[in-house]
Symmetry: D2
């Protein structure tokens, strides 16, 4: 049974909407509007334990999952939702040992999910042009304990990708089409290209760029997630939902044939 230790991150859970990521320290208190929690009291207790605040309100002390860390990243730089990230994990075929190029890093939400998937034997090379975002991402990745699987690279991915023979390239940036030629070069044969774009014009340009290179199995999808309220005589999809985050475009690199480019 895994016990909470000093220095661990803990997700204090009050309810779905109110969760707090805190670092456990012996003498520290964490203050909420429901009273404060003595973080030192958590040391030695198993993850999943209840803890009562000074006002008698019960929280639960959870080991943070990667998805918790994703939801805690700055949403201003991040439009990928868990539904999109999960699908990318499968479509990119990331697993231990995979070498993946990502751009841009943003606040590191997708970076963490990829790093968790490629550990312990793989590596995520992630490009970000904005140093401020990169510092945020570095902090998030470090705190998640994933720093050794991530190489944060400051630079413009439309100009150069240093890596070769990578298993996957994944883009979440404004002009993905401009990276398609370099992505093709960086990928190993059979490697997977993926791009996330909010607008259909981005998709059209990106697919057009893909079709100018020997890629096959080109496809664009959109994932829609509905939250369902399940309660006796009240079961129904929720009234308000996120209607759109973006489109995912995927393709697989093949090696050039004598006859010319691949076409589907």
């Amino acid at each position: 049974m895994s016990a909470i230790a000093e220095g661990d991150d803990v997700l204090l859970y009050l309810d779905k909407k109110r969760t707090y990521m805190v670092r456990v320290e012996a003498e520290k208190q964490f203050h909420t509007h429901k009273g404060f929690v003595e973080l030192g009291d958590l040391i030695g207790r198993p993850f999943g334990s209840p803890v009562v605040s000074s006002l008698g309100v019960e929280f639960y002390a959870l080991r943070p999952l990667v998805r918790d860390r994703i939801l805690k990243t700055d949403r201003r730089t991040q439009v990928l939702y868990p539904k999109d990230i999960g699908y990318l994990l499968l479509q990119l075929d990331v697993g231990s040992g995979s070498r993946v190029v990502e751009a841009g890093t943003g606040s590191g939400a997708l970076t963490m999910a990829l790093a968790n998937a490629v550990r312990p034997d793989g590596m995520v090379y992630t490009y970000e042009i904005n140093p401020k975002f990169q510092r945020v991402a570095a902090g998030n990745v470090e705190r998640a304990g994933l720093a050794e699987y991530v190489e944060l690279k400051e630079g413009d991915v439309t100009g150069e990708i240093d890596e070769e023979e990578v298993d996957a390239v994944v883009l979440d940036m404004a002009t993905p089409w401009a990276v398609v030629p370099l992505a093709y070069e960086a990928l190993a044969g059979g490697g997977v290209f993926a791009s996330f774009s909010p607008t259909i014009e981005q998709v059209i340009k990106t697919v057009s760029a893909i079709r100018e290179h020997p890629f096959i199995d080109v496809e664009t999808v959109e994932l829609i997630l509905r939250n369902i309220t399940v309660a006796e005589n009240k079961t129904r999809p929720q009234t308000l939902m996120i209607g759109h985050s973006g489109y995912l475009t995927m393709a697989r690199k093949v090696l050039e044939s004598l006859a010319g480019h691949a076409s589907t």
Copy 2:
């Protein structure tokens, strides 16, 4: 650069609808309605290479991804789609070292995705009551090179789960609600429960069973995937789509408080 070796599985790709999983052997031919391919010719060539059939039709020789293997499993025993499996990978927080219980195994589609995610240091314990399905799953897992990360268990998961302190329990079976008490026992504190069910009545019963145990962060979602045709002046969601595979219900185990069960 990774080259094709004798004994490797290769995905021969003609187009999106016509792909063939073959094992490379020196003297073997693979016959299609577009002519035959000399599999021995592939040996030593890089993955992603084109290969021309006896009728002059070009195929590509791809290293099979986990998602290719999933799509090649018997769909009669399998209603989980890649959209659902990807989301589960993230929500279950599986990564190297995770210990996961699955039931039922079916033809092993989800099993392979989980095994790929937990390697090299984790394990998937997967229960199946039907020996015929289990044999199919064993073959699929073996062929995917994932056998050492999977323990195939023949038995009725509604009667017993042998494992303790596991990180996740995931159910794809007719009566998931009957497994909720045992799943609670098997999970470590903070561990994730997930269940996939096609019908809303299954969901209602499962959520009701979940609420009788100290689980928090209970949620049910449905993922809808739209394929988008992207081509100049023809860009649009595709006419025919899969409208529904099933609902995903997730929850996280917490340890019992003195005050009684958790409620949201």
Copy 3:
């Protein structure tokens, strides 16, 4: 060309989110945070004309459509959206001369759409148990100029439906299943039953009640409406959307056969 007259309702349109339903009077001013509009100035001008407020902001004076009136009804008593109402207009086969029973009236949104469809030769008989809602509905119907096509009936539709041989019965109430036997009696042969319900439990009970009577062509649908932003390089479904209003269940009455009930 149709001109605005004193006493007419006019929809003053500033933008999609800011529209105001006003009655034109000679000496009246309509005040907004963008200045006031002299309503008398509108008299004699064609519908669709621009009008400038005292602060120099331009509004447009539109003839209110039925859909404008629907959107102006009190949303607390009304969860039917235009997408649902439009579908009902077609599925109920309402047209001039149709005789339709509705329950409950609520604030009269669906009532107005039905009345507009059945005029000049049909009639909507609409039941409401709550006198406060009924007064609101009466005002809305009157103001829309549709009062002569609507009979507002205060009463409990689960106890009695006075009408016979009607073309359609449409329910938007908490317990539609309780009305199914009376709806069957009230309908003419081939007449259409429809019910709107937010929860799936309501749908299950209603369909179960329908199957105990000679109804055919029973079907339940859900309509999802996505708003699309269309602008150069910004085209995409909108981020926030209404994820669910309710399910629509339809059936058609047939006359009893000697062999027993109809079944599909």
Copy 4:
């Protein structure tokens, strides 16, 4: 109670998938793979009556609804679904007395719905460039008893619209953007423009053309219809669905202001 008469159209209903539109004649038999039905036997019986075939199979004799006629039109020329048509009926604000321009007529599915909505005092002017389609539409409209509310016009609507001060213009054609200027001219102030297009490129061009004229309340939506199977312990959205028919774009004409074009 309305009785079936010689010459009436009747919808013979076996089940949801097998319905037959027949004209009742005294000595005629209608043959199906479930035996033949003596159509003369129906005369004098009420609509909704069961009728037994020569093989003992029960059918129901229904009065055809407009939606039945829509579903019986040739789907090759028709991609508008009932979900789209219903929404248009509400959004176009058609009712008795409305004058509506439609193009192209196709096989007349939308034409019939519009004609039913505008009767007895309105008119649908519908343009079709293909004489073959027009003949089909003429037959459908005539058989539906709606001919007196429809003026079928053979011609190219991109070249000329004869009507003025109409309440609505609705387009279901390949190049709707080319008709926007003429549609603006034909509409009365406050009149509604609507266009149905399968592809997003059509939508982008159409919205761009709309923005060059004084239209307000411009919006594009997509309607998605899910069929729900409702049966004890089997309740769920259906597996296969129509994923897309087209986008609907709507706008309202306003009269030109001194300051220039309207913008939202």
